[in-house]
């Protein structure tokens, strides 16, 4: 009996030694940690019932581990979590990013859950989903109880870059299906074309900072149609960011995105969110942003924007309007205080679905941080890479 115990103990010791031997022989990866905390007091004045809320949704933590591979490729493993809205049906924590990325100088492959390419622009709003219905091609499989299921999907993406600025991406997604939550098959495919000036060079680019086009095809089950393409919901996105005043101190840009949902002719009333995402709609959204920099760091920012969505195929004239204005002031490294006002107005069928109108005022403290430890290689957007080809 004692011998058996001794042998087991020996095996355990061997395993521990083997594990630590292997672990110690490893190259420690680059370790990136990012955090965003959005804490606001919200005052909602709407047509039904007004309320005041303490809100920390959209707060998130992101961790990435990166290493060089053989043959000049690199890999990154990313794990991120987000605290969703209280009534989102996602629990206390939602794992919004769990993916692996492989890349070399011209190719990128992404597998796992991350933000889908159903939004081509980053608008200056307090939270990512503040203008959700205007800024994303919406997930037609979702019941709309939360915004995360529109933003994030399980993706398979391949992107090829040309001349460090042109990106062609072919992607397939599994968007969460509220009716069949255990179905993980890809239910969407798309093609995205983007021209993007690298981050490090944006401040002095005349006029065009970004321009992109994306087509997304959601493989929905449409009654009466057997052909997958005919049965699908189709969206086309156009997006651009224009530098109105490219300057390192006083910077002004204009961001714009248009989404055309080609919809189904037979959806002419809105009974639920499924109908909302499957009927024809045309959406435009744009923001003007002024950023004041002081000593090469952001000082304050003021932005103003609005969006309009029309749903022309409905029996009753229905549309949505959004106006948003905010300002942020940097009170210390990584800390900003912000004030945002948002007005939404819905008419026709959308009024029944989302309420008539709402004024929302938010006073917020935002913390954002990102740091890479154990740095080993340059980033794709580094000037050294852009001008001297660092990533091989």
């Amino acid at each position: 009996m004692n011998n058996v115990k001794t042998n087991k103990m020996k095996k355990l010791i061997y395993l521990i030694v083997l594990f630590f031997g292997i672990a110690n022989a490893q190259i420690t990866p680059e370790f990136e940690i990012g955090a965003k905390g959005v804490f606001s007091g919200n005052l909602n004045l709407n047509s039904e019932e007004s309320s005041a809320v303490s809100d920390f949704s959209d707060t998130q933590l992101l961790m990435g581990l990166s290493q060089k591979l053989y043959n000049n490729w690199r890999a990154q493993f990313v794990l991120g979590l987000q605290f969703p809205d209280a009534n989102s049906n996602l629990g206390e924590v939602f794992y919004n990013n769990i993916f692996i990325r492989l890349e070399d100088q011209k190719n990128m492959i992404k597998v796992g859950r991350t933000i889908a390419q159903t939004n081509l622009n980053e608008f200056p709003t307090l939270r990512d989903d503040d203008a959700q219905q205007f800024t994303y091609a919406l997930n037609p499989f979702s019941d709309g109880i939360n915004t995360e299921r529109d933003q994030y999907a399980n993706v398979l993406e391949y992107t090829h870059t040309f001349k460090q600025r042109f990106f062609v991406s072919v992607h397939g997604e599994n968007f969460y299906d509220s009716l069949e939550p255990d179905d993980f098959r890809l239910n969407s495919t798309g093609l995205t074309l983007m021209y993007k000036v690298p981050e490090s060079q944006r401040w002095n680019r005349n006029v065009i900072q970004e321009i992109g086009l994306s087509y997304n095809n959601y493989f929905t089950d449409r009654q009466g149609y057997s052909n997958d393409f005919d049965a699908s919901v189709k969206n086309l996105l156009f997006s651009t960011t224009l530098n109105l005043k490219p300057d390192p101190i006083n910077f002004i840009d204009f961001r714009f995105q248009a989404i055309q949902n080609f919809g189904w002719d037979e959806v002419n009333t809105l009974n639920d969110y499924f109908d909302y995402t499957r009927t024809e709609s045309s959406t435009v959204f744009g923001t003007f942003r002024y950023l004041k920099q002081k000593l090469e760091r952001p000082h304050y920012q003021v932005s103003i924007g609005g969006g309009y969505k029309s749903l022309p195929n409905l029996e009753v004239d229905s549309n949505q309007l959004l106006f948003i204005a905010n300002s942020f002031y940097r009170i210390g490294q990584n800390f900003d205080i912000g004030l945002q006002y948002r007005y939404t107005e819905n008419t026709g069928f959308t009024e029944g679905l989302f309420g008539k109108n709402e004024h929302r005022i938010q006073l917020a403290v935002v913390y954002s941080f990102s740091k890479i430890f154990n740095k080993q290689f340059g980033d794709r957007q580094d000037l050294l890479n852009l001008e001297h080809n660092y990533i091989r």
């Binding site: 002095n204 390192p248 490294q333 580094d382």
Partner: protein, 428 residues
């Protein structure tokens, strides 16, 4: 710019370098390829009494050891920069051309230059701005081993590779009289945090692009520049709420460099140069530390003469076999060829005998006797280990010749290759 002829020359040298391996240590090609690992002389032209040199600085891809490359800054596309060699009393003019988008200056370390030629930004001159030039003029004195380096953003620019040797020769050199020699070597030591270099270069390039833009627009001020005319102006800015960059602002979170590459003449083992010597010959070695780490240099099998300290000839030379070469220091040593063999000359702080954390690498090179008989390189003839040499420890006794030894020989060949020393070891 490299022309076709340069390319062909470089190609030929590279090929020789590729073919070179330690088994051919005593071959003529080895000596030819070794010259590429030594400091390269900078030619000059005469303008009246002036010796005119030209140095430029540009972004450069550097390979300290085969297979590892990084972007850095280099004088005349080489690390270290080319060696300026003049006689004491020469009038020296150096035209410095800045081809980068960063600021630079040149400081002449240990040389009695006029103070306005000392290369300290905002103290003796304004920085040499991107795509600008500066003419340095001075009389070469005192004699001895000195060096030059960039004095702008020195923490990064020096370890990036902006340094080179400056030798002021004395025709009546007292050292040469005491220790007659024909051959001499310059070894420039440095240490580099290649990750820090990359991050800082990126951040400097970004900053400079913005600053150059604002300068052209006439909207650049003291606070943005972090440069003030005097203490009063600085104090007034502080009163108005200005936070210096080292407080809770801008670059205050930067980490200090942790060197991960250690180089001699810009090369790390196994690319480091060989020092060739013959029995009975004296060689002079000029040691320069252009980095920020101390190197405890130790020569195996010999004591060497310490003959100059910071370029100053020592009245009473003394013997050592280990010397701490601190940052900014130069020592001249004389090695007497009295012990034929191959002897390592390395940093005895063995943390610096590493490449990217792996031993061996870094500051490891060899003193090689050219008159070493090739026979002595054969492992099985001279090894003290009976596993490789059946005669080990047997003096003149009869050789044991057995089948067992043949089998052992086959195994040794599999493990260690050719029956010859030295070899390149990359991981011990």
């Amino acid at each position: 710019m490299m022309d076709r002829r340069d390319f062909l020359a470089t190609g030929a040298v590279s090929t020789a370098g590729t073919l070179f391996f330690p088994g051919n240590l005593l071959a003529e090609e080895t000596k030819i390829s070794n010259k590429q690992k030594l400091v390269q002389p900078l030619s000059f032209k005469m303008d009246g009494e002036w010796k005119e040199f030209e140095l430029y600085i540009d972004v450069h891809t550097h390979e300290p050891a085969p297979g590892f490359k990084y972007h850095t800054l280099a004088f005349n596309d080489m690390i270290p920069g080319p060696e300026i060699r003049v006689n004491a009393g020469d009038k020296v003019r150096v035209k410095f051309i800045n081809k980068t988008d960063l600021n630079h200056t040149i400081h002449w370390h240990g040389v009695y230059v006029p103070w306005r030629m000392d290369g300290v930004p905002f103290v003796t001159q304004l920085p040499v701005m991107p795509k600008n030039e500066f003419i340095y003029e001075f009389v070469a004195e005192p004699e001895g081993t000195h060096f030059y380096h960039c004095h702008w953003g020195t923490l990064m620019h020096m370890q990036a590779g902006m340094f080179g040797s400056l030798i002021v020769e004395n025709p009546n050199d007292s050292i040469k009289k005491k220790f007659p020699y024909e051959r001499e070597y310059t070894l420039v030591y440095s240490s580099h945090d290649t990750n820090y270099i990359r991050e800082e270069m990126n951040s400097m390039l970004e900053r400079m692009k913005q600053r150059s833009y604002l300068m052209k627009e006439g909207r650049f001020n003291s606070e943005q520049w972090a440069v003030f005319d005097n203490k009063e102006q600085f104090a007034a800015s502080l009163e108005n709420g200005y936070q210096p960059p080292y407080v809770n602002n801008r670059r205050s979170n930067s980490d200090l460099p942790q060197a991960n590459w250690f180089t001699v003449n810009g090369k790390s083992y196994p690319s480091t140069p060989y020092l060739f010597i013959k029995s009975g010959e004296n060689i002079r070695i000029r040691l320069i530390n252009a980095g920020a780490e101390t190197h405890h240099l130790h020569l195996h099998g010999h004591d060497f003469w310490m003959v100059a300290d910071d370029g100053v000839p020592l009245e009473h030379p003394f013997k050592r076999n280990t010397v701490p070469l601190t940052p900014g220091k130069t020592f001249d040593i004389i090695v007497e060829g009295k012990n034929r063999g191959i002897w390592t000359f390395h940093d005895h702080d063995t943390r610096k005998v590493t490449n990217n954390g792996l031993y061996p690498g870094g500051n490891l090179l060899a003193l090689v006797y050219e008159d070493l008989p090739a026979d002595e390189l054969i492992i099985s003839k001279h090894s003290g280990n009976p596993m490789y040499n059946s005669n080990a420890g047997m003096g003149d006794m009869k050789k044991m010749d057995t089948t067992k030894n043949d089998n052992m020989g086959a195994m040794n060949k599999m493990m260690f290759g050719e029956d010859k020393l030295p070899k390149i070891a990359l991981d011990e």
